[in-house]
């Protein structure tokens, strides 16, 4: 019987290694797999590359992981937001490498990794300092920059409902990067608010099919932690 449920965060994170690239779902505090991210601290993993839209809020989740010094490099579109004090301190002190990526390019690069597209052209950023030293090619009347797929070793995502096959739904704005991260990583781990173990989700309304999900851990933690 297929059963992707893990009994605990620790079990779900088994196999996470030093130097791994982590893809984190979430936009702001909504849809962020806070408990899985904090679980990474307990695993002892370090020298991590983290891909996420924001650089964490307050003292939870990614902010804690950064504070613990586990992250070598951040690939991010919008690290500097209200409450991202830990990021700002680390970055100013030179304790963190940052690769800044436009938000749509960040999503598209992960989607490309998940879809077997090693590289694609986009006009986004082509005429800016972010394209310095990059390959540019003209399509129609627009300069485009070549962007490469962004693969993850492990994706940590947050779902609203899951079944034992790893099918997932999300709630409202909690969807955001989660389905994209799920496609792009070799090992995708979801924390879910609600679990329907043997009762499958409606095949018409599944957002992330189980093929993209390796492990599910049930954490009825309530509303987003800000």
């Amino acid at each position: 019987m297929i059963d992707k449920l893990a009994a605990s965060v620790a079990e779900a994170l088994t196999g996470l290694e030093d130097g791994a690239t982590l893809l984190l779902g979430g936009f702001g505090a909504v849809g962020q797999a806070t408990h899985l991210i904090e679980g990474v601290i307990e695993t002892g993993a370090r020298d991590l590359t983290v891909v996420a839209n924001n650089a964490g809020y307050g003292q939870v989740g990614l902010a804690r992981l950064l504070k613990e010094g586990r992250v070598r490099k951040l690939i991010c579109s919008y690290p500097r937001i209200a409450g991202s004090t830990i990021f700002e301190e680390l970055y100013s002190a030179g304790g963190l490498e940052l690769e800044l990526v436009p938000q749509g390019t960040l999503a598209e690069r992960m989607r490309a990794a998940g879809a077997g597209v090693p590289a694609f052209f986009t006009p986004t950023g082509a005429d800016t300092s972010l394209a310095r030293g990059r390959e540019i090619r003209r399509f129609g009347n627009r300069d485009c920059v070549l962007e490469e797929a962004l693969y993850g070793d492990v994706a940590l995502i947050e779902a609203w409902e899951a079944d034992r096959w790893g099918n997932l739904t999300y709630r409202a704005a909690g969807r955001n990067f989660n389905p994209v991260c799920a496609m792009a990583a070799r090992l995708t781990i979801a924390q879910t608010q609600h679990l329907r173990r043997d009762e499958p989700l409606d095949p018409e309304t599944i957002v992330t099919p189980g093929i993209f999900v390796d492990r599910v851990v049930h954490l009825a933690y309530g509303d987003p932690i800000t």
Binding site: V30, Y91, L100, P102, A126, L130, N176, N178
Partner: protein, 222 residues
């Protein structure tokens, strides 16, 4: 009399937003940036149905919720709590930016540090060696939307023009902005340069030109 030339009053942030709202027809799909652009939504008449898009996977953004109705899972790209209007939908980030980058938005309204006379947009970083920079969806919106309108103050706090021949701030996108709404005027970016569509009452073209570092002329069809 010297006083006659200074009888004009600049628009407030809310007035700029209201002015922009006038120009958005029913049925458009629109993304609003943070700041003054966000205020545009509340100024569109309720009976005129416009669909507001948010980068984080929402079409049909409605006004801020009453405290009792707040859904902690429903935020906009500025991380403010919002509501969803009838006809709205949720989708993931790659689909959301497919809408932006695939030219499906009729309009986005953005803030800016500077706009050039060719429509170059600078609104994401204050310098090339910005400490802790952030770009977000600005570059995607600037190249993707069918129309890019900018809402901004006509000059900086120290009185320097923000509308220039060549941007000094790092570019967000080249030849992107199609219209500029400031506290003093509405300007179109055309192949023939900047054309003034409107000015606040009492302001002369000469006075506006003094506050603008690129040549202006009056739009022929205004």
């Amino acid at each position: 009399m010297a006083t006659a030339t200074t009888e004009w009053v600049p628009l407030s942030r809310h007035q700029i937003a209201a002015r922009i709202a006038q120009d958005i027809p029913e049925g458009w799909y629109v993304n609003l940036g943070i700041g003054v652009p966000t205020l545009v939504a509340d100024n569109v008449p309720k009976e005129r149905e416009v669909v507001f898009h948010s980068e984080n996977g929402i079409l049909g953004i409605g006004p801020a919720p009453e405290k009792a109705d707040l859904d902690p899972w429903l935020i906009n790209a500025g991380k403010e709590y919002v509501t969803l209007l009838p006809g709205g939908s949720f989708f993931h980030h790659a689909d959301s930016f497919a809408m932006i980058r695939g030219r499906h938005l009729d309009l986005c309204v953005l803030g800016a540090y500077e706009v050039s006379s060719r429509g170059d947009l600078a609104n994401w970083a204050r310098s090339d060696d910005d400490t802790a920079p952030a770009v977000g969806g600005a570059m995607d919106l600037a190249v993707g939307a069918q129309r890019v309108w900018v809402a901004m103050q006509h000059v900086t706090k120290s009185g320097e023009p923000r509308i220039v021949e060549t941007c000094r701030y790092p570019l967000t996108a080249r030849a992107s902005v199609t219209r500029i709404y400031t506290d003093l005027a509405v300007l179109d970016v055309t192949p023939d340069g900047l054309q003034v569509r409107e000015m606040v009452a009492g302001l002369s073209l000469e006075a506006l030109q003094e506050k603008t570092a690129a040549p202006l002329r009056l739009a022929a069809d205004r």
